[in-house]
């Protein structure tokens, strides 16, 4: 709770809040005030010395002064002004001003703008080289020490926002500079390439390589000309003054506006939903620039979102429709391809009925495309056989939430995760799969004392950082969670009031907990009782808890039940319907949430309106002028079985390499071979497309307009950055074209009209419109007709008619497959930070591919010793379905008989799903990818490590509490402004 007060600034009274940072107050009241190192998110760093003011006649840094109330603040006293000028002069000594030929001269250079605003006409300390060479060893950015002003923003961002803890400044060096891992090349350090440092750099010291020689009218100048030109300009500077030179650079900067286009979009990788501007010059991507307005991520990104966009202009893009003719694919026109499809779909429908056709949408596609895909299936073809690829990952999480709280989405926002007193991460490698959310947890833990518990098979980064790391036997999380719940009930340390007032089915639930004693859990989970008690005590003593989970929970035979157990625990502890708590199933793809929200599901129309609900159906029927099918259709998994049974003859698949990412890939590909019509729509020729009869070239997100919904139910708009490449078309356009080829007479002019229609028939999105999603605006559903949205769910009751949550009784029933005497090892699998899924997009970025060129298998140290395995040993992994050959990495991240294999492969040689089974979650049919037993054979003892030495995993982090400016102040050569520097560094 803030206390309002007033302060006087230059005789003007301003409203402020007690504890508010003075510089924020000044900016809030539009007082143009210089500063360089201060950043809203990073807070005061205190290195630049450019924001001095007098507060009650004492010199203070405005970034470091918190309002107490009734102060008198003077900005323009000679003491304050000369102090700021001295600070800026010291910065210019570290930064060579050649703005006109600098790639960062884009109107947003903080050093340039601050210097310009301060009206400095003369440079007192000439620029001086620090004596270090440029570090261009990182694939995505370069560091120029001679341009670095040592503000430490990059260090602060790396240490305390991204919390990768790679960057530091050693103030004890004769000439300080930014260091990677204490002093190695950036390219061989622990840097994960998240780009925070480059984004926050206030000048051109850290610069995206994609900007170099590209941004600006004169930046492509040869070095041998650039240097003499800079010297010439410097020599003219005393005569013509800095102001004139600055005017020229500002003119050049303005001229760049014609050259550089900035388009807001949303990341197309994971479900965090990072938004940013993409800077482009023609079809070249200059950089990705997140902003403080980005609602989910502010200035944060990961390596994929910041640098992984080369796939968009890849030479491997499909650009022409292809049709199978005999034993080859032949290029064809859109008209011919669509006419062929319309004819074949019509034939199959008339021969075998509408339910002989299936439609699978993609969670890479937009909400509008998901909406159109289900409309095509239901209204044009007449079947509910429509699904999307969230079936492969998140359906069990949705099921767990729908059962207990009635709404299948994150219950709060990412900001709530940061605010929670305790964060419990189960079955999620958050730092690699949802990197930006991980930064919020790491930051809260490091700076705010948040407690972190990680339950996982593997000791990944979050596990290393956890206050408590628990590694139960695979597939037993439900038992662990239920045992914790029982402990809380038995010790009467649950939220009785919440349970009695806001939940039902309490007695049934309590009865169901009876078997989950500590002893039972200890045996089943192979954990010490004390560990379970420690977890339960942490849960009991936390005033707020957020639980994050992902595929380690959902991709099991009982993924829905374990998700339910998580929600039960949150209900039991009263952790719904208030800030800083709740359930967070971390959605995998960028639009996993939206693909289901907008109706590409066999049982639900958009907004989770059941196909069996007559009222809901009528709403759609009235809008669409058709009669809709009334019973649930087939999901992805059932479609594959139906193909084998001969009841499904045609399949239209969008944006998914199903023959590689679905489990038991050989079985799935076998199904493709049996189809009478297989249509694949994608941006690349995939292993799935190889089976198609027709391949339609689609456009990626940068080539279309639409919306994505992120993991926190946030709907955000994407805008067209480039026109569709060659003959490729946006998916929404292709679906419309196909519908019209089937005589549907759809006439959407743009995706905005699709959203308007979805809003009309979907109460959950009643108030969603493109007008309300302009710029960085976003809406978290449910959205009322007046446009008000819902960042936190359940503030006035749960998603059932009686507003009460359901405590859901559970039983534990084991796993579908576990190691035995023959298949003696458990093979876990998942993502890597730098690749997305099979890597069809991320392998197109050379900087990623060079450092992580292939998949591998992690082997525990002890097992490696027993089997004679070293880094680089080629092993064969054999399951009951097939075998792959892959090189080994020996690591302590896995233990006992556990192996781990990342999924980034599109080769039959080493793709994980050659091994996985067709077992699924019993409730949702999500494949039980994580229940996999294999045996291991050594093929070649010696070999090259699959992880090159420049991979960040070999780096050595250097944790610190940021820049530690106090050490700078202790240097002999530092003196408080306005005094001139004592002597040179």
């Amino acid at each position: 709770m803030y206390v309002a007060t007033k302060i006087t600034v230059e005789d003007k009274e301003l409203e402020a809040r007690v504890g508010e940072v003075l510089i924020d107050v000044l900016r809030k009241h539009d007082i143009d005030f210089p500063s360089i190192c201060y950043n809203d998110l990073l807070g005061p760093i205190k290195t630049c010395d450019t924001c001095f003011v007098e507060v009650n006649s004492k010199l203070k840094r405005a970034c470091d002064y918190k309002v107490q109330g009734l102060e008198y603040v003077s900005i323009s006293t000679s003491l304050a002004e000369s102090s700021r000028q001295e600070g800026m002069q010291r910065i210019l000594e570290n930064h060579d001003l050649y703005c006109t030929i600098c790639e960062n001269n884009n109107g947003n250079c903080i050093v340039h703008n601050t210097f310009s605003a301060m009206g400095i006409t003369e440079q007192i300390y000439p620029h001086r080289s620090k004596g270090y060479s440029i570090d261009a060893s990182h694939p995505f950015y370069r560091y120029d020490p001679d341009q670095c002003i040592l503000c430490g923003r990059c260090v602060e961002a790396c240490q305390n926002l991204q919390v990768n803890e790679t960057l530091s400044i050693d103030w004890s060096l004769p000439q300080p500079r930014v260091l990677w891992d204490g002093g190695v090349d950036a390219g061989t350090s622990s840097c994960v390439g998240c780009g925070h440092c480059v984004t926050v750099c206030p000048c051109n010291a850290l610069m995206e390589k994609s900007m170099l020689k590209e941004a600006g009218l004169f930046t492509n100048m040869a070095e041998e000309i650039k240097r003499p030109l800079i010297s010439l300009t410097k020599s003219l500077e005393p005569a013509i003054g800095l102001t004139t030179i600055l005017s020229i650079s500002e003119a050049e900067s303005k001229l760049r506006k014609e050259q550089i286009t900035k388009t807001k979009t949303v990341c197309t990788y994971c479900g965090v939903g990072c938004s940013f501007e993409i800077w482009t010059k023609n079809r070249k991507i200059l950089k990705v620039e997140p902003t403080m307005e980005s609602p989910a991520n502010q200035i944060s990104t990961c390596v994929k979102g910041k640098f992984g966009w080369d796939y968009v202009n890849s030479a491997e893009r499909l650009t022409t429709p292809l049709i199978r003719v005999g034993d080859r694919f032949q290029e064809t026109s859109w008209d011919e391809a669509l006419a062929f499809l319309a004819r074949r779909i019509g034939e199959i429908k008339s021969e075998s009925g509408p339910d002989s056709l299936g439609f699978i949408s993609s969670s890479k596609c937009t909400n509008e495309e998901s909406f159109l895909m289900q409309k095509l299936a239901r209204a044009v073809v007449g079947t509910n056989n429509v699904d999307n690829c969230s079936r492969y990952c998140q359906s069990p999480a949705t099921m767990g939430l729908v059962r207990t709280v009635g709404v299948g989405g994150d219950s709060g926002s990412i900001t709530d995760i940061a605010k929670a007193e305790l964060v419990l991460i189960i079955g999620s490698n958050t730092a690699e799969s949802h990197p930006v959310i991980a930064t919020r947890v790491k930051r809260a833990q490091k700076l705010d004392g948040q407690k972190l518990v990680v339950v996982d098979l593997r000791k990944h980064e979050m596990a290393e950082r956890a206050d408590l790391f628990i590694s139960p036997r695979p597939g037993t999380d439900l038992v662990l969670l239920s045992a914790v719940a029982k402990y809380l009930v038995d010790s009467e340390r649950y939220d009785k009031r919440f349970v009695s007032e806001k939940t039902i089915q309490v007695q049934d639930y309590l009865t169901s907990l009876v078997p989950f004693t500590l002893e039972y859990a200890s045996v089943v989970c192979e954990l010490d009782k004390e560990v379970i008690i420690e977890l339960a005590e942490m849960v009991a003593s936390a005033t707020s808890m957020a639980v994050l989970w992902a595929m380690g929970v959902t991709q099991h035979q009982r993924g829905s039940d374990t998700s339910t157990a998580i929600s039960n625990l949150l209900l039991l502890t009263g952790n719904y319907g208030k800030p800083g708590c709740g359930a967070y199933p971390l959605r995998g793809h960028n639009n996993v949430q939206g693909a289901s929200d907008f109706g590409s599901m066999p049982d639900n129309l958009s907004g989770y309106q059941s196909v069996e609900d007559q009222g809901a159906r009528e709403r759609f029927e009235n809008e669409w002028g058709v009669i809709l099918p009334t019973s649930k259709g087939l999901d992805n998994h059932e479609m594959v079985d139906a193909i084998y049974q001969g009841s499904l003859r045609g399949l239209y698949l969008i944006g998914e390499d199903m023959g590689l990412v679905d489990s038991n890939a050989s079985y799935v590909r076998g199904a493709f071979e049996k189809l009478d019509l297989f249509v694949v729509q994608d941006i690349f020729f995939s292993s799935t497309a190889a089976y198609a009869d027709v391949i339609l070239p689609a456009s990626p997100s940068l080539e279309k307009e639409g919306t994505f919904t992120n993991t926190e139910r946030r709907i955000q708009k994407i805008n067209e950055v480039f026109p569709p490449l060659e003959q490729s078309r946006p998916d929404w356009r292709i679906i419309c074209d196909l519908a019209n080829a089937l005589s549907a007479r759809w006439c959407y002019k743009n995706p905005g009209e699709v959203m308007d229609e979805a809003a009309r028939v979907t109460p959950l999105f009643a108030g969603v419109s493109y007008d309300r999603l302009e710029g960085f605006s976003s809406l978290q559903w449910p959205v009322s007709a007046d446009g008000s949205d819902t960042p936190t769910l359940f503030l006035d009751g749960f998603g059932f008619e009686d507003k009460k949550a359901r405590l859901w009784p559970l039983v534990y029933g084991g796993v579908s497959e576990e190691p035995d005497s023959e298949y003696d090892l458990h093979l876990n699998n998942g993502r890597l930070l730098e690749h997305f899924h099979e890597g069809n997009m991320t392998y197109k970025t050379q900087g990623i591919k060079d450092r992580t060129p292939s998949t591998f298998v992690e082997v525990p140290v002890k097992l490696a010793e027993e089997r004679g395995i070293k880094d680089g040993t080629l092993v064969r992994l054999i399951s009951r379905r097939g075998s792959v050959k892959v090189r080994a990495i020996v690591t302590d991240r896995v233990t006992n008989n556990q192996l781990y294999m990342p999924m980034n492969s599109s080769s039959n040689e080493d793709a994980i799903n050659i091994l996985t089974s067709s077992s699924t979650d019993l409730a949702t049919h999500t494949p039980a990818y994580k229940e996999l037993a294999v045996k291991l054979e050594v093929v070649e003892k010696e070999g090259r490590s699959p992880l090159p030495r420049n991979n960040f995993r070999y780096g050595r982090r250097t944790p610190s509490f940021g820049v530690m400016v106090e050490r700078k102040w202790l240097r002999d050569d530092y003196v408080d402004p306005p005094a001139r520097r004592k002597r040179e560094w």
Binding site: A222, E224, T319, F685
Partner: protein, 142 residues
């Protein structure tokens, strides 16, 4: 039974042959009138080129040739259409400024009271002086 087929994506980036590219380039240059200008330059370039080549046997001469080469390289990399737009912008503004409001002697004198303006004028005079200076003939040195 639809078996998996291989397909090699024809890159939209695939390079046309050297001859095709050269023909396209010449056609474009011709369309824009650039070829005519190049011809004009070549017709009139003999004098400065001979001047530079004659001096290429001395250090200072070679430096001059090198500087010209560097300058041409730099100029060659500048986007001509952008420079054209910038010039239009600057010249356009100048014309408007002069036409709309001719400064009085007094206002010019007032501006001369600024050290920055005085430095600028001094620099301009020095530059003009330098440009107008007659280089003594190398042969006249004693």
């Amino acid at each position: 039974m639809a078996k998996a087929l291989e397909y090699e994506v024809k890159s939209y980036l695939s390079e046309p042959s050297g001859r095709t590219k050269a023909a396209a380039l010449l056609e474009e240059l011709s369309k824009r009138g650039t070829l005519d200008k190049v011809q004009l330059i070549l017709e009139n370039a003999s004098a400065p080129i001979s001047y530079l080549l004659e001096r290429a046997d001395t250090d200072s001469g070679r430096e001059k040739v090198g500087n010209v080469a560097l300058l041409l390289t730099a100029v060659g990399k500048i986007d001509a259409s952008k420079v054209d737009r910038m010039l239009c912008l600057l010249l356009g503004k100048t014309r408007v400024g002069v036409g709309a409001n001719s400064p009085s002697y007094l206002s010019i004198l007032r501006r001369l009271s600024s050290a920055e303006v005085r430095r600028g004028v001094f620099l301009l005079v020095e530059l003009l002086h330098e440009l107008g200076r007659t280089e003594p003939d190398e042969g006249s040195h004693v």
